[in-house]
């Protein structure tokens, strides 16, 4: 388990759609397009502002792909940081307040 957990919220500045196992996301700020595979889609679809990344990793990565939690968390954190850099995901060390959850 990671020392510091984080909470993810989907940005409002995107248009997104899950098609099959993949998720397509388009930034409404600069029209950049992102394609997430099934693992990325699982993280994206779980980004409700109240589910910690550690739980997302445990439920969707470790059990499905039989990988260790530390390694999976590190990989997921790197992925999340990339999306956050582009403004696709909002990252916080505390859960979002209920009114902020879409």
């Amino acid at each position: 388990m990671a020392a510091t957990d984080i909470y993810l919220t989907q940005s409002n500045d995107v248009a997104a759609r899950t098609i099959g196992d993949d998720t397509l996301i388009m930034s409404t700020l600069d029209s950049t397009i992102f394609m997430l595979n099934s693992v990325g889609s699982a993280i994206w679809n779980s980004a409700d502002g109240s589910t910690p990344l550690s739980r997302i990793v445990h439920e969707h990565l470790c059990e499905e792909f039989e990988v260790g939690e530390e390694e999976a968390f590190a990989d997921a954190k790197e992925f999340v940081d990339q999306l956050a850099t582009h403004g696709i995901l909002l990252v916080s060390e505390t859960p979002a307040a209920p009114k902020e959850i879409q």
Binding site: D13, A15, I19, G20, T23, M26, S27, I33
Partner: protein, 270 residues
């Protein structure tokens, strides 16, 4: 008594994609430019749904190095490039263009305005050539040098070309139609002013053989989005374009067409 001179109207109605736009001008020479460039799309006497007033300016009034920008301000679209400034109100269905007397500026403004009118309806302009065969429209999309104009050049006589550069896709009564446009690329000729229901969108890939392959729907949407022409990176229209692409792929077959650039590729089409 000498009466003051009055400017005579030299208005021209240009209908593309079923949208008649009245281009209003008092410049007789500019009217001749419009009649020549849009000849098959001019509709004298047709009631227009939109109006664009063109004010002819000295070309020295513009910055030739300025990039194109399109943005929303006070519920009105503003457009600027090195050779024109324009504004368009979708609510009032009218706009104004400041440009010199040339066909290229008005052509660019018309493309932009049409994308703004199409987006709320789920339509779009696409980097693609398109043609009608046996009453069905086929689109051939790709980036520069992908083969859009090549497909147009290789078309046999029974194929009617709609465009070799900017395909016009409009959703009418739940069905997708492709329309001819005057927006020509390397081919240099405007397309036939006809329309037909879209049978297939082909994503082009030059190869050593002719082959049609299925494409994953998510990848199809991604590649379609990369080829849709839209100029305004404003959140509301980006969302409309995104949803339009998703809806289109859900209803129209999208395939990869790998082709060797000779006429035999058309044996696979239609």
């Amino acid at each position: 008594m000498q009466l003051p001179a009055t400017d005579q109207n030299h208005d021209v109605v240009i209908e593309i994609g079923g949208f008649p736009i009245e281009v209003q001008t008092t410049d007789a020479e500019f009217e001749r430019i419009l009649m020549g460039r849009y000849r098959d799309y001019v509709r004298p006497g047709t009631a227009s749904q939109f109006a664009l007033r063109v004010e002819i300016m000295d070309p020295d009034r513009f910055d030739p190095d300025a990039d194109a920008e399109v943005w929303l301000e006070d519920r009105e679209w503003r457009m600027e490039r090195g050779d024109f400034r324009a504004r368009f109100s979708p609510e009032e269905r009218r706009g104004q263009i400041f440009q010199s007397a040339n066909p290229y500026s008005i052509d660019s403004v018309l493309r932009i305005v049409h994308t703004l009118m199409l987006a709320p309806e789920g339509g779009f302009l696409l980097h693609a050539s398109s043609a009608v065969r046996n009453g069905k429209a086929f689109l051939f999309s790709g980036v520069s040098e992908a083969g859009k104009t090549t497909m147009a050049r290789l078309a046999p006589p029974d194929v009617a070309l709609l465009t070799d550069e900017a395909s016009y896709v409009r959703k009418v009564d739940g069905r997708y139609f492709a329309y001819g446009t005057p927006f020509a690329g390397e081919f240099g000729e405007p397309g036939k002013n006809i329309s037909a229901p879209i049978e297939t969108l082909f994503l082009l890939n030059k190869a050593g053989e002719n082959r049609i392959e299925e494409i994953d729907p998510a990848i199809a949407v991604q590649r379609l989005l990369r080829n849709i022409l839209f100029f305004a990176h404003e959140p509301s229209i980006v969302r409309q374009v995104f949803e339009a692409a998703v809806a289109f792929v859900a209803e129209v077959p999208v395939r990869q067409l790998s082709f060797f650039p000779d006429r035999r590729v058309w044996e696979l089409i239609g």
